[in-house]
Symmetry: C2
Subunit: 215 residues, 2 copies
């Protein structure tokens, strides 16, 4: 981390790729691979080797010329860049099918994330205790619970119709980032971090590609 000026103009795509690199570096580290060159990583990730080197160069000089990168060291650096030297505390909102699926995804902690609280609005669910130990809180308790448990990331897994309302409440409760699974574009104040996971859009892309292929 040398020149902070650099950080302002780093492409989002670079961060996304760093995340992908880290995944393969993790696998390699586990297999006992010590050193990797950008060409090798390129094959695994489907990213141009020059792109990989440029992505890394934004943050420092991690490689050795004529050799490559030390797997463990590079993994450590990327995780540090991404901010994964700590556990991020998340709130899950919406205990439907998707919510359950997310909770069950137990690699989270290893990767640096945990669902510290769960919210729902259904009286039949509120108050129940989940296998992992969490209690389901009512939406109305959000403000106090989020402050108390020091939650930083809100995950919206509600129907689309409720998502904006939930986002508003998360924001006024002091959340700083939102991962949105509902199929709407959230309106949020400047500076708040939002990411959107939307597989219906991806399906439409596939439908388009298949349709075009037949032309």
């Amino acid at each position: 981390m040398r020149d902070l000026m650099k950080f302002s103009k780093i492409p989002t795509a670079t961060i996304t790729r760093l995340s992908i690199y880290s995944r393969y570096l993790e696998a390699m580290a586990q297999e006992g691979v010590k050193i990797v060159a950008s060409d090798k990583l390129s094959q695994k990730c489907g990213v141009n080797p020059a792109q990989i080197r440029k992505d890394l160069a934004y943050f420092g000089e991690f490689g050795i010329r004529g050799v490559g990168y030390f797997v463990k060291e590079l993994l450590f650096e990327i995780r540090r860049i991404l901010g994964l030297h700590k556990i991020w505390r998340m709130a899950l909102v919406g205990m439907g099918n998707l919510g359950s699926a997310l909770l069950a995804h137990q690699n989270f902690i290893r990767q640096g994330y945990e669902f510290a609280v769960v919210f729902d609005i259904d009286p039949g669910k509120v108050g129940r205790r989940l296998p992992n130990g969490q209690i389901i809180y009512h939406l109305d308790e959000m403000e106090s619970v989020i402050a108390e448990k020091e939650i930083e990331i809100g995950v919206i897994a509600t129907p689309a119709a409720k998502a904006q309302m939930v986002a508003n409440r998360l924001i006024s409760a002091g959340i700083r980032a939102i991962l949105n699974f509902a199929p709407i574009q959230l309106q949020v104040p400047e500076g708040l971090a939002v990411e959107h996971v939307d597989f219906t859009v991806k399906l439409d892309n596939l439908a388009y590609q298949l349709t075009m292929a037949n032309t």
Copy 2:
């Protein structure tokens, strides 16, 4: 649809945005809104109005100068462009938590998609009949079932370790497109359509943004 040459160079981002436009047009159509201008749609979607007009212009002239676009007509055109004038038959592979969540997502049919078959490998699940009427087939029956039921899109909702194997089998069974929820970059032959839904990457983006915001 005038000049087919145009179609070769349409940005993926354009298709993704068309999908988003269609969502808001649907909402407007339901509310009885007859006409919309690119400025209005821009506010809803968070896309520059010139961008919207340019996206549409790839495919024809759908608007009226000085007026805007007829909501229903534009929606129809976009759905035609995306290939949603038919129901796409999909195979779900992996009946874990995520698989269940996907099956429960019942807007699919209205949007132009249906899970026509479900596969798993767990003997405790294979043969069971799901609420929607589908039987869970074993992976080994994939080749025949996919041909018989004329499946075009495969949806991978298995653990990462199995995803490549499943993809290979889907491909040799004749599938033409894959929606992959497993956190690995699939290796597939040229020309096969693949989309990847990966929320851990999105989380890493949020972690990075939060970390940077504190610098």
